[in-house]
Each structure stands twice: as C-alpha cells, then as structure tokens.
Symmetry: C2
Subunit: 692 residues, 2 copies
C-alpha cells in the first residue's frame, strides 16, 4: 500500500494518518490519476469551484436560524459574482463565456459548500436568468440579463402552481393581452393557481419570470389561448421589499432542508406588464394582438420552451453524484477506523472488515462511480446541444431523455447513499457536525423538484416505447438505445426482443462468466429490450379501446413502464462506468475499477435476479453464483475502498466531519496505549471469569 | 361507501368532505370497530395519551431554535407528571401503578405530539428511572426514584461511550472500590471512554446512572474486574447547573432531529460515590470490598442487567409503528384528493388512482398494519414478563429476541414509509408544515439507538442458529419459531429443512393459490427454515478451525445471517397480521384486511422471488403471477385506502398537515367551479389547437 499512499498524499488534501487495511492487495489504485479522470472534461473549473466550496465563507453553518441562513446565502451569491467566475453560461458580450457545460460543472461543486448555495445559484442563474436568456430575445438580454446576472435583481422562476406541478401545461395563471394599452394582464384566477415553492419568492425576489396561459384576441377575432408562455414581471419594490401593487404572496416557511433559500408563493391580481415583457423567442404577440410563432404546433412549442430548462436536471444529476461522494468519503473513512467488538486477533474489528458493512457501502460506492461517469457524458451532451455544436431537434430530444434518465437515478442514489452512510456511522452519524443528516435534509427535495423522479421515469419509459414502435415500423433499423451516448459498443435493435423472449435457457449465456463484460452488457440490455417489448405488446390493444378503457389499460402497466425506465437507466450507467474503466490508463487502477464495475453489474443482476430467472436468462444454478461472486468482489475491493473515496478528490475542508478527520483512529490508539501501559505496569484488574 | 362514511364520521376526528373513490367496492370497513381493534389491549390508555398529544402544548413547533425546543420539552415532561398519568410503570407504593405494558402504550402515543417528548420521557423514565428501578434495590427506590419520577432530578443514562456503543461490555469507564472510604471511584481513563449521545447530559441532567467496569480487591486479594455495573452519580449542581467537581462534559449540539433533547457527553475524573450508589440488584460489594452476585456467570449477569432495559426497544417499536401511521394518514389523504394530469374523463386524475401511487403507498400500509399487530403481541409479552406473571429466564430471553426482531423491522419501515410519503406528496411534502420531513428527521436515529438495527438482527440470527442446533440435537422436538408468540398456528420444526431443500418443484405447492393463507405461511416459514439450515451447514466447519479462520468464515456469512433474521421478522409480522385478520369480527372488515394481509404476504414473496425460484419453491410460471396478483390486490384495496388510514384513529390534531386537511380538494373544487363558470358565461378562451 505504500506507493498508493504516497501517491494519494501527494495529490489529495487528506494527509491524515493512514489506516491499516485488512489484506494486502496486488493491484494499486493510482489515486492522483483516478482523481483527474473523475474530475473529467472540466477538471480545472471543478478544482476552482472546489476551492470556493472549501472556503468557510461559502459553507453551510448547521443550525443557523432560517432568516440568517437566507441572508448568508444571498450574500454568498453576490460574493460569487464579485469574486468568482460564475457567469460562464451567459453571452460573452454580457461578460459571460458562452460555456454551458463548464458553468454547470462549477455549480455542481458548490454542493460541497452548501446545497442551499448551489440551489439558490440554480434559481437565480439556472432558472430565472436562463429563462430570460433562452426564452427571451435581444431586448430581454440587454434589458434584464445584466441585473439578473449580477443579482442586482434576485428573481423567481414562477412556473409551478399549488395546483399544478408536474403538469405545467395545465397551470391556471393567465396573461391576457390588452391591445388598447399594449400590455399583458397577469392574473391568478383562483387559489390553486398561486405560484408556489419558488426560490427567491419568499423574500429576496424583486422580479419573476412568470409562466401563464397567453390569451389574445386580435381585433374582432375570438379570444385564443396560445398556451403557456413566460413573462418578465417585477414583483417587489427593491427599496422597501414590499410587493408591488397587484402582487401578493406568502413565505413557504421552514422546509425539510435548503433553508438558505426563501421559497414562497406568489399571486397576481390583474398585474399589467408591457407587451415587450413577453419572453418572445418561441412565440410573440404583435401590437394589435396577433400571435405568431416559429413553431406551428402548440404542443411542440410548449415542449421546446420547457426543453431550454433542461440544465436544472443536468446540474442536479451532477450535484447528487457529488453529495454521494461526500457521504461515502465520510462513512468509508470512519468505517476504516472505527472498531467494534473483539475479533480473533488482539484488536477489535474495523467496521469495514465486517462483510455486512462492505455490503452496505461498497455497492453504493460502485453506483456512485457509475453515476459520476454517466454524468460526465450527460454534461458533454448538454454542452454539445447548448453550445450549438450539436443542436438538432433530435439532439435536444436525446439530451432531454438522457437527463430524465439520469436525474432520478442519481438523486435517489444520493438519498440511499447518504442515509446508509448516516446509519453506518451510528449515533455519530446523527450529529449535525458530521454532515450526513444535513446532506440528507438538503438533498431530499432533489428527487421531486425540477421534474418529479417518478414522472421523469415515465417520460423515459414512453420514449422507450416510441423508439421501439419506430424500430418495429422501420423493420429493425431503429435502436432504442440510440440516445445512450453509446458510441463504441454494440447496439441491439429492440426488435430482436421478440426472438430472445423465446430463447429460454441459452446454454452459452447461462454458462457464461457473470463477470464477463459482454455477459453483463447482454443481461442488462436484454432486460430493457424484453421489458419494453412486453410492455408494448401489453399496451397494443389500447389503440382500439374507448378512451376510458385505454387509459385504464395503460394505467394498469404504469409500474412496469417505470421499471423499464429504471432498467434503462441502470444500463446507461453501467455502459458509462465501463467506458470509464476502459479509459483508465494505469493497469492497477483499471483492475480495481473493473472489480468495481463488476460489483455494480452483478448488484444490478442480483437486484433483478427474479426477472432473469422467470425470463429464462439465468438458470437457477447460475443465479445462485451471483451473490457469491458479489461476496468475493467485496473482499477484493475492500482494501481499495479508501483509495476509491480519496480519488473523489475531496479534502477535509469539504468533508468537514470530525468522524472523518482521523480523530477516531487517534482515540482508539490512545485507548490501546492505555491498556498496554496498564498491562505493562501490572495494574490491570483480572477479569472475573479468569479468577473463578 | 355511505355506511362506511357514516361510521367513520361518527368515530374519528376527521369530518372532512369525503373524496370520490375510483370504484365501488362491495365489502365495507367498519372503521370504528377496526380503530378499536388497532388500539388493542390498552385502548383506553392510548386514547388518553392521544388526547395529550392532541393538545398544542405537547406538540412540536417546527423550526424552534434548539435551546427553546429543549426548554419546551423539559417543561412538557414536568407537565406530564403534574397533570397526566405517566408514572404507571413504577411501584404502586411510590405512586405508580405497576403497569408496565400500559405505561409503554401511553408513551408510544406521544410520538404524535413530538418525538422529542417521547424520547425525553424515554430517557428520564424508561432508562434513568428504570435503571434505578430494575437494577437497584429498596434503598435506591426509596432514595432516588421519587425525584427521578417527578423529574426533580433529570437524569442521564450513561452507558454508551464514544468508543463503545453496540459493544457495551467493552466500555472503558471504571468504578474501583475503595474500602478505606467505602466509596466507588468513577473514572474515565481516556477520550474514547467519554460517555456520549446521552439525553439529559448536555444540559438538564443533575444525576446519571453510569455504567462502568466494577473493580474491587477485598483485603489482600487481587484486583478483579467484575464487569459492567450501574452506579448512581450526581453530575450537576441543581442550583447553578454547573458540573460537580471531577465531572466534565460537552453538549452534542445539533442533531439530525430530536433537538428537544439535550444529548451530550460526560467524563469523570476520579469522582467518588458512596458504596450504596452501586445499583446492586444483580451484583453487590460488601464494605470490605467482597463482591457477590446471585448470578454466577459474569456473561449471564451482564445480559440479565441489560435485559431489564428491553422496554426501550419495545416502545420504539410501537412509536415507529405510530409514526408510519401518521405519515400514511397524511399521504393517503393527500393522494386521495390531489389531482394531476388529465385522464380519460372530464376531471384530472386523483394521484391514488395511479397504479404506481398505489404501489408506493399500499404495501407500506399493509406493512404498517402488520407492524401494529405484531407490536401488540410484543407489548403483551413484555407485560407478561415485567409484571412477573411470565417471568422465567426463557420468557425473558424470548421477549428480548422478539424485541430485537421487531424493533429493527418497524423502525426501518417508519423510515421507508415517511420518506415514500414525503416524496408522494411532492414539493408540499417538503414543507415543514406538512410534518413528513420533521418525522423523518426525528425518527431517523430510532434505527441505530437502543440497539443498532444491524446488530439486533445479528442477535436474532444467532438465536435462530442456536435454536436450530438445539432442535437438531433434540431430534426435531425443538422449534425455531417458538418465540414467535405463535400460539394457534402450525409450528414447523426446523429440522424439516434438510428434506424440504431437496423437495424442488413440489407440484402441489407451486400450483397452490398464492393468496391462500397456508401457502403464504409455508412460503414464508420455509424460507426462514432453509436459510437457517443453509447457514448452519455453512458455519459448521468453524468449530474445527483456528480462531482467525473461524471468525473469517463466520464473517463471510454475516450478510446471510442478517437476511435470515429479516426473513424471520417478516414471518413474525405476517403471522401477527393474520391473527389480526382472524380477530376482526365484521365480515367486510375481515375481507379488506384479508386483502391487506395478502398484499403484505405477496409483497414479501415478490421481494424475495429470486430466492423462491432458485430454491425451487416457486416455478417460473407461478412466480410470474405474483406481481399480477399484487396488481389486482391494489385495485381491490384502493377504494378502502382512506378507511384503512382513518381506522388508525388519528384526527387532524394529530396529523396537523394542511395537505391532509381537505384544503387540497377545496382548492380544486374552486378551480373547477371557476372554469365551469367561465364556460357557462362564454368567457373561455379557445385553445389554439382547436382554432387552427
């Protein structure tokens, strides 16, 4: 372990005393190189952002009363503008860098300082300013963007309503055009149409981008609802903090976490804004009230407008991966030092030497690696589309599907990981000073905001069905796995599924080594294919049924639809991790990463083992070996667990948990030294059982 | 639904407008009768405690700063003594009622007011005063109990140390007897031996029951360590709040939840207490330093002392069940009112009509019923032992095993349930006002304190192995399921497992109806049996191996050991739920409960489906039907979901969540009325897609 240790000490910020490992392992992880690989395409930007997150001024103070926490985070936001490079996503001509991917990479790293700061930044720049940028045109960029960028105008993104969250198309707020004054009248017709859960709305926001049903009636024509559009609406007097006439609202008050953000409610009583406040990139209203749009279909227009906001999901995916890394950094270090119960030797047993403790943490570590590599690919796809390099309707759609695939997967992983880490640290894990409970509280809402995870998986499932139908129609040329960013590896047309279904008990496959890359790929891929094909077959009659019965049939397969999306997500992550393994250049690192990838793959197979058995993909005999393979992988990986979390590159200024500071090992050394000295001096009392 | 509605309105505190249900269902739940059944053997006491928890003075205020929350909870504790019947567990001669089971039932209900209050009460009366009661003798009862009961002396239960939590036997604090002064010297030899995580130690406690290694050396003899004993130690000056000489400590500060409790650390620098401060029921020291005990074996003595504290685990089991009920009460009500996305009809679809939403919540509802019935049996077993009616060594051991079986199961269920409910309520679920996040924060530590869940399952697993070995030795007369409180139903000797293992593909069984009670029982029971038998076979070589290799072999099966315990726990819960079904007298209620039991049983079978397939207990064909059976049960149970949560008997004063108040339905009615009026008045704008 010496070389590894040296490498790590040279490159990470954790010069803590090394802990004894339970066994010697031949391959060694090149921690420095792996850190670099994990930092990915935006390594320099990430390092810069981590330096910021490592400064006490940008870190969460647990237990700060909500009002103070809010002020602190607003202040931090402004400090970021003044002293740090946080406006990269905006146009160069306004002081930005037109760097979309790099900008997100930076913000994802703020989660190590304070998730509230990450999300407050997301509200201000990722939602409010981004809506101006992406839904507005030159006038809006010139007029509103500078103050939004500088936080001179803190802004709310007023889309969600009390009555409509996931179903944005059905919001109740209206923006009716009045040609007489050339104004839009923003109005909240009933309580359920109050905007809700909006960051910056509770206290700080002086403007909002308000989403409303655009209604207009050019001279003499009928009043037409052109669907949801966005409007720039001042809401508070910046000097007094009072709501402007016609605007009202409420503070959402205390939340489960993220209390550095002032979420709140807004409502509008016939509030008038100039015609030019319509963010008119995708739809405009002429002075006489005539509506025009470059996108003829109202449905496609709506989804195009919403699609510009995909970056929220992309950055949550990255931030969730980082939160998992922090939690594992804390729990693995503690698990490597904490001892409990006597073992066979003279010392008590280190927690991470217990098989169960390995079972609890190492598969989550493998999943976190998979999530990290998958996120880098998502970020690349995002940058390709948003830079304009790869901006095609298909590219956008694929990006949105990939974001909808990964955001639920990584945010749920973060919740599972943080909670398991908290429990794995026992009572110490429940103390706020050890960070895990705070991370759980703050990350919790990531699974339901910016697209409820369950709803997102349904979108993915529907896309899988659509692609499958296309593939069937085109006679197999299509590929449901198209958007997997699946460049180097095999592509299995979904139409094959019909055959493979009958292909029960394929001897080659069931005898294949489960640790073999191709076998894992085939198992994971086939599962998606068969699930989608089964689902398509089950839903086929819906086309010929009356609406109510069709809806009922579809609903009766909703669970399967979501599980198909999850299976797809798992496969996407597995492919990304596998590409990460191949990209590792150091042989020792590649060996350990291969074990980690196998652990991830086999954990997925174990999780869905019944499916493989029922569908004849694995024999009972082969299935029996899955868990024992996993057990063997745990033993192999265990000596590398610390290296694998050290490679995340977080230092003590990011972990900030006393239990991950070396304190635990130090105290135990002290205790053992005490007993040794007592024994040496003959002062030790004899245990009763040795007397009688 | 009318009759059911009437019954409910007559008996619960929720006279909110009824929501439309998705289908008509024939059987009806007699909500009043089911509420009574669920309230169980201590119905009156529970009702009394719920009345207390329903008073604002005994309810948690979310967001209260920690110092105020602590003062509030201490005040509440004293109010409980002054005005309510909370000292039932104590001796009649001291003002109690010698009612052990009833006392716990009361405290479990306080969780609806504030989990901090439940746990502060648990610290004061369930740990501190109980240790005096159960480990002390008449002198201690007379001297220390009255002030502990009245909270004149708030006390800490100083067992856990920074370095030793689960492994209490290895604590470092010493209590050395000094015959010269007839005192014990309480001493903390090193940092890892600081007491930690102790409620009342941070601020309020003026005394503590301190666990320490008792060392004594009667004249001329060697110094002997008689193991862990408990001592009554004053720690703070009640007037000044300052630590007494030699005592020191720290506040644990903010925690993930339960911040109404002042957890803290204590250490002792040669603090002297009189000899009589040893709580000497199980071990005593004579003035000359001679040690004596009624229990010869130091190991058995230690476990006997710890065993007296089982009530903590029992009451956490009940409180966790109640927390799950509260969360489901909120999420089911909201799921029954909240609508999102248009359906086939004119209205948007109610969340609970979505199959996935049913899949998320109804199995948790079934598990919560199982947990509730199982807890009632645990409480009965507890009362039998602690009242003395059934106090035998075997009865105590069975009680401890049952508590170790159920406490992990119910506390983990609470965490899953609260989190799923929070997510099922979306953004609204993240607001503190809707209670779910607060419940999660407070209940979190229940899974690791009073016996870490993972450690408890290991105890259960070891007990299963011991009983299996006994059964084997006695030629089949034993029964591993003995302590299941499994009176009326069949008992399967574990020795049968060897045969059943070979019994692959039994046609009768695989063709059996999965909804059949005996089939479910057989599936669940056989799984435990086979897992234990497999484990025993795998561990058999350990007896002949050198210690290190033996330990390594045992460790390599730790995961299976824990999973066997979980399987046992699931079966215990299933049996309890089944007995609950049989005890229901109303036919409609019994029908619905039978479906709920089937849902629970089949969900367990689905969760472990791979095991049943690999072990030949279910054919692939039969396995395929498990999920579709579950889907059908969800459809059947869905119309009864509201009745089933209403039967928990919690009113709005317990749920206290705006989203579960009828507000949501009211707002939606208002929105629909608005659109109706617009249409009627011809004011509705035409959707663009209808124009072009």
């Amino acid at each position: 372990m010496t070389a590894t240790t040296d490498a790590r000490q040279g490159t990470t910020r954790t010069p803590a005393p090394r802990v004894a490992l339970s066994s010697t392992a031949d391959p060694r992880v090149d921690v420095a190189a792996l850190t670099e690989q994990l930092l990915g395409q935006y390594a320099e930007l990430r390092r810069g952002a981590r330096a910021v997150a490592g400064e006490p001024d940008f870190q969460k103070i647990e237990g700060l009363p909500m009002p103070e926490q809010r002020e602190r985070v607003l202040h931090q936001l402004r400090e970021l503008v003044a002293h740090h490079d946080v406006l990269r996503a905006f146009p160069s001509r306004l002081g930005g860098a037109d760097d979309h991917g790099g900008s997100l990479a930076r913000f994802e790293e703020l989660v190590a300082g304070d998730p509230s700061l990450q999300i407050k930044a997301g509200v201000q720049w990722g939602l409010f300013a981004s809506a101006i940028l992406h839904l507005g045109t030159a006038f809006h960029h010139d007029t509103f963007l500078p103050d939004a960028m500088s936080v001179a105008v803190p802004g709310a993104f007023a889309m969600t309503e009390a009555g409509h969250g996931s179903d944005v198309a059905a919001i109740g707020t209206t923006a009716e055009y009045d040609p007489a004054t050339q104004e839009f009248v923003i109005h909240t017709p009933f309580r359920a149409a109050w905007k809700d859960y909006l960051g910056n709305a509770g206290l700080h926001g002086t403007a909002a981008v308000v989403f409303a049903q655009l209604v207009t009636a050019p001279a003499g024509a009928q009043r037409v609802n052109h669907g949801v559009h966005a409007f720039y609406v001042p809401i508070r007097d910046a000097a007094t903090g009072e709501f402007l006439p016609g605007v009202g609202g409420e503070d959402d008050g205390l939340k489960g976490g993220l209390n550095g953000i002032d979420n709140g409610r807004l409502h509008f009583d016939h509030v008038r804004v100039p015609r030019t406040h319509l963010l008119n990139r995708y739809g405009d209203v002429a002075p006489d009230g005539t509506y025009s749009s470059s996108i003829a279909s109202p449905g496609r227009r709506f989804f195009t407008m919403l699609g510009t906001l995909v970056q929220g999901r992309v950055s949550l995916d990255g931030a969730a991966a980082n939160a998992s890394k922090l939690a594992l950094g804390i729990a693995v270090r503690y698990g490597n030092e904490r001892r409990q119960f006597a073992g066979a030797g003279p010392d008590e047993v280190v927690l991470l030497d217990y098989q169960r403790h390995q079972r609890r943490l190492l598969p989550l570590l493998a999943e976190t690696y998979a999530t990290t590599f998958a996120h880098e690919e998502l970020l690349a796809a995002f940058d390709e589309v948003f830079s304009g390099r790869g901006e095609t309707p298909e590219g956008r759609e694929d990006l949105e599907t990939l974001a909808a695939t990964l955001k639920p997967t990584s945010t749920w992983l973060a919740m599972r990981t943080i909670q398991e880490c908290r429990e794995a640290c026992g009572g110490a894990g429940y103390l706020a000073e050890n960070r895990l409970v705070g991370l759980h509280q703050d990350l919790d809402v990531y699974v339901t905001f910016e697209g409820d995870n369950t709803v997102l998986y349904q979108l993915v499932g529907k896309r899988l069905l659509t692609d499958y139908a296309k593939a069937l129609r085109s006679g197999g040329a299509g590929d449901v796995a198209r958007y997997v960013a699946d460049k180097a590896v095999h592509r299995t047309p979904l139409v094959r599924a019909a055959q493979t279904l009958a292909d029960v008990g394929d001897a080659r496959r069931s005898a294949g080594q489960l640790r073999d890359e191709d076998t894992q790929r085939e198992l994971l891929t086939e599962r998606v294919e068969v699930m989608v094909a089964d689902l398509a077959a089950a839903l086929r009659p819906a086309a010929k049924l009356p609406p109510a019965e069709a809806a009922s049939l579809v609903n009766s397969h909703q669970h399967e639809l979501i599980e198909a999306a999850r299976a797809h997500a798992e496969r996407v992550q597995w492919e990304a991790l596998t590409r990460g393994v191949h990209a590792a250049t150091d042989p020792g690192t590649q060996q350990v990463l291969t074990w980690l990838r196998d652990l991830f793959g086999l954990t997925l197979v174990e999780r869905h083992l019944a499916w493989y058995l029922v569908n004849g993909r694995l024999s009972a005999g082969r299935a029996r070996t899955v868990s024992s393979y996993i057990d063997r992988l745990l033993v192999r990986l265990r000596p590398h667990a610390q290296d694998l979390v050290d490679a995340f590159g977080y230092g003590p200024e990011h972990l900030r948990a006393p239990i991950a500071s070396g304190q635990e090992a130090q105290r135990q050394d002290e205790a053992r030294a005490y007993y040794r000295a007592e024994r040496a001096a003959g002062r030790e009392a004899v245990p009763e059982k040795h007397v009688r």
